[in-house]
Amino acid sequence: MTDRDPVQDLWVNQQSERFTMSVDEVRMRAGSLQSIVSRRNFREYLVGGVLIVFFTAATVFAKYPLSKLGCALTAIGVAFVMWRLHVVVRAGTVSDVAAAGDWAQFYRGELVRQRDALLGIWWWYLGPLIPGSIVYWLAIGIRSIGTASAVWEWAVAVGGLLLTAVVFGWVAAANKQAAAGLQAEIALLDRASGR
């Protein structure tokens, strides 16, 4: 190539760290869980697992029935979120066929999948956690009815509900903003690929 840029030569002739994988090693990794579950996802699974154990234990040890129900619903909600996360991660694994398609088409698919996951956060992430949160905070107020500390307990319950609403609202807004960013990226990609 006569008009080859010297920087291209520098780039392709750079020293790389030593890395080899035998066919057997590749085959072994292809069949292992590690190829599906990255380190980052593993951390999320771990946190989810800890939360499920915590709320299950809280369900067992809580004395007031409505508190038990709140903890049980939260444990179920977290389990649902973990299951959805697992589905999303599996769907994000590069398939053999898509792997060799053109980049723009493949990348667009990844962006759309990510955008839709962010836009659907109410049904697969926040929504499943709402029943447990509401019941848990209401239980604090309801169990105090007729006691001397009822006003204080209801203040805690209402405050907890408001705080939960603010946090969930903030998470939803942040995700909506991130989804808008992805949509802008999709539009840019469509312009560049002439789609």
Binding site: Q8, L10, D96, A99, A100, D102, A104, Q114, L189, A192
Partner: protein, 170 residues
């Protein structure tokens, strides 16, 4: 089929293994995560050869797999995309150097990687493939981007590189 798949993978890994490493490094700055990404590239490449139909060259196939695995990695890692910029917004590049000396060549490479890491898609992919020495047509085959979009980006990059090395723009 498995023997063909194994043989194709072994040949491709021998010929394009270094290119996979460069693309992994252009995508992921963290060494540990880069190693994971590189392993994913190799595994996906091996798996993909089960479906290789010869409709494109092995080189195009390998680069597509590498770029697609890198794209999947980038989306999954959910980096802060607002930090990334378009090629046409980059104005200043610190300390132009001559690429002839080994030490300065290393510094130049570091600056090149810093540049690539700062770019948003599809600029990053076009620039990486250009640096790999692919023609505009070959970049189009790998990326699926329009010839106009590729030409514009390569032209901007050439001007940028010329400024980096104090050469006259082509």
């Amino acid at each position: 089929m498995t023997r063909d798949q194994d043989a194709r993978y072994a040949d491709a890994a021998a010929q394009w293994g270094a290119a996979l490493q460069r693309i992994a490094r252009a995508t992921e700055a963290d060494p540990e995560r880069r190693r994971d990404l590189l392993q994913d590239m190799h595994v996906t490449l091996w798996k993909s050869f089960a479906a290789f139909d010869g409709r494109c060259s092995v080189r195009t196939w390998v680069y597509r797999v590498a770029q697609n695995v890198a794209a999947s990695h980038a989306v999954r890692e959910q980096r802060d995309r607002t930090r990334l910029v378009a090629l046409d917004t980059i104005e200043d590049i610190p300390d132009a150097t001559d690429a002839s000396d080994t030490v300065e060549a290393e510094a130049t490479l570091k600056r090149l990687y810093a540049l690539v890491h700062s770019l948003r898609s599809p600029d990053r992919e076009v620039i990486t493939l250009y640096l790999e020495g692919l023609s505009a047509e070959a970049v189009g085959e790998v990326t699926g981007l329009s010839p106009g979009a590729i030409a514009t980006r390569i032209s901007r990059l050439k001007s940028l590189l010329a400024r980096m090395f104090h050469e006259a723009a082509p």
